[in-house]
């Protein structure tokens, strides 16, 4: 594959950052696509952007603060209804800390 912008090793690194367990075929094809897309987006380098401010939102935003009052939230039952695994009113997740029982 063309590796003009991003090498196979870098594709693996980005997949680790993105928490995606891509197989070798996916790494190959996504790497190929990324290089083609990055080739194309290089056209932005043609522009002189000196003094141009970045736009994060197209419409001006005001700082939105909510009232500090108690509001109704979802019930525990509602929140857990979509859990892949739940027990005794809690989410069950794989072990995240090493050692001990």
């Amino acid at each position: 594959m063309s590796e003009r912008h991003i090498s196979e090793e870098e594709v693996r690194h980005v997949a680790r950052l993105a928490r995606l367990a891509l197989n070798d075929d996916e790494l190959q094809s996504i790497g190929r696509d990324l290089n083609a897309i990055l080739d194309y987006v290089d056209k932005l380098a043609e522009l002189d952007l000196t003094g141009v401010e970045p736009t994060t939102h197209a419409v001006p935003l005001e700082l939105a603060l909510r009232q500090d009052v108690v509001v109704k939230t979802l019930t525990r039952e509602d929140v857990l209804a979509n859990a892949p695994s739940a027990r005794e009113g809690l989410f069950c997740v794989p072990r995240a800390v090493e050692g001990g029982n």
């Binding site: 980005v14 993105a18 995606l20 696509d33 987006v41 932005l44 935003l61 892949p84 997740v93 794989p94």
Partner: protein, 486 residues
């Protein structure tokens, strides 16, 4: 008697108010039409027969009491990335294929209060990423007007449902053209409101600075009526605008007279190569009709148009990689097996996301990663400023801009999926609108030599949807005599 489900929303409401038929009858005919057509079209992922019947009954009762809301009894289809309580909301993905929404999103809440009847959740590209509806975990949608072709995307199921009369109107979302392009390919009306006009609370997020919810209907007036219901400030969306809503339906009533005094810009950069000859001819003819009918035409320039696709695909993928980080298989969504936490995350995401989701997450993660942030993400944000300024300058001398919605008409299923860049480039006319946060509308504008619908796009100033409704209604009135020809 006319099949009730084929009526416009306006005609449905007139019939319901005049007691010509009941919401229950309208609902049954619509559900029958869905059950008959959906196995072929695949426009709906979930059909909510029971909820629809209960809502239709409630609408009839409310009308009998004299308390009917503005959409009481009207069958509405919801793109399957809008949460409605108790109903499966999949985002057309494996990741959320079993997710049942625990609450109503803002748009759903407003429609419910207005008396709408929810007939089901429409198919789309997974997490709204795509231009053909072929990235759905639940399979592609067939174009009801041009069988064998895609309906466009990502709101392809919503567009197909409207075109096939499987609802009065539908709700879609538009991040880079996902309402307007499928509206164009299916021959219906689609509106992307100004960014901030409609609350995004309860919508599965793709690219938060670009996403906007909007109506898709059979007529301009129907979309105006829906916008009246779904627009308005919502404290649960920090980007929701406090701009007052307007009686937009009124703006559609003047027909051709609505063009009086309007200055319409035609951007020269939108008519340079890559556009199908039949599409260009139809758009030019529509522009001529608008001018003859009283609009003042001006050639304008949007000089940074050629940078819009590159800018859009850097920004939307960066935002998507961040938004989709929440899907880790812990609290909801697909969970895969694995030996440790990290492996469970990575496998759940690999299995739960589609190819296009992964491609965009990867590009976005790369564009935001150390060493590349300035070269890609920050640079794209600066070009976004230039694109926005192009429109500010143009709107100093014109009230609206007219363009094609898409350079081509509906393309055959399976012909573009292998080349993501080519698919991205087909969004050229719709994405600047999202980058600038403007309102944009796609209108039916005749058909090409093969009978495929062509879409005319109107762009307006920020929060001036009323202008689009005026021009849209005029265009509709001018184009009406053509509609009877096949």
């Amino acid at each position: 008697m006319t099949a009730l489900h084929t009526l416009t929303v306006q005609a449905m409401l007139e019939g319901l108010d005049g007691r010509e038929f009941s919401a229950a009858e309208l609902c049954e005919q619509t559900l029958d039409a869905i059950d008959a057509a959906n196995p072929r079209l695949n426009a709906f992922i979930t059909v909510t027969h029971d909820e629809a019947r209960a809502q239709a009954r409630a609408a009839d009762e409310a009308r009998a009491r004299g308390e009917a809301g503005p959409l009481a009894g009207v069958p509405i289809a919801l793109k399957d990335i809008l949460l409605n309580r108790g109903v499966r909301t999949t985002a057309a993905s494996r990741m959320l294929s079993n997710f049942v929404a625990p609450y109503d999103g803002a748009v759903v809440e407003r429609l419910r209060t207005a008396g709408a009847v929810f007939v089901g959740k429409t198919n789309c590209d997974a997490f709204a990423m795509g231009s053909s509806n072929e990235n759905s975990f639940f399979g592609p949608v067939d174009n009801p007007v041009v069988p064998g072709c895609t309906p466009g995307g990502s709101s392809g199921g919503s567009a197909a449902a409207v075109a096939a009369h499987l609802c009065g109107a539908a709700i879609g979302t538009d991040t880079g053209g996902s309402i307007r392009q499928p509206a164009s390919h299916c021959g219906i009306v689609g509106l992307k409101p100004t960014y901030g006009r409609v609350s995004r609370f309860g919508v599965v997020a793709f690219a938060s600075s670009l996403d906007q919810v909007g109506p898709m209907g059979k007529t301009v007036q129907d979309t105006a009526r829906l916008l009246e219901v779904i627009a308005g400030h919502d404290p649960r969306d920090a980007t929701s605008s406090r701009q007052p809503t307007e009686p937009w339906t009124e703006a559609t009533r003047r027909g051709v007279d609505g063009l009086e005094g309007l200055r319409i810009g035609v951007p020269r950069e939108y008519f340079v190569g890559g556009i199908e000859p039949d599409v260009e001819a139809a758009i030019r003819a529509a522009i001529d009709r608008l001018e003859v009918a009283g609009a003042e035409l001006h050639e304008i320039s949007l000089p940074h148009t050629e940078y819009a696709v590159a800018t859009y695909y850097l920004l939307c993928t960066a935002e998507a990689s961040s938004n989709l980080a929440r899907y880790d298989g812990m609290r909801y969504g697909h969970r895969a097996d694995g030996d440790d936490l990290l492996e469970v995350y990575a496998r759940s995401r690999d299995e739960g996301f589609g190819d296009e989701n992964k491609r965009r997450i990867m590009l976005g993660t790369y564009a935001l990663s150390a060493g590349y942030y300035d070269a890609y993400y920050l640079r794209a944000q600066k070009v976004r400023t230039l694109i926005r300024r192009d429109f500010e300058q143009a709107f100093a001398s014109v009230d609206a801009i007219v363009t094609p919605t898409s350079p081509s008409t509906a393309f055959p299923l399976g012909t573009r999926v292998e080349d993501p860049l080519a698919m991205y480039l087909s969004d050229i006319y719709t994405i600047s609108c999202n980058l600038a946060g403007l309102p944009g509308m796609s209108l039916p504008c005749g058909v090409d030599g093969a009978g495929k619908p062509i879409g005319l796009q109107l762009l307006g100033r920020w929060f001036e949807e009323a202008t689009l409704f005026r021009i849209g209604a005029a265009h509709e009135a001018l184009a009406a005599p053509m509609r009877s020809t096949p």
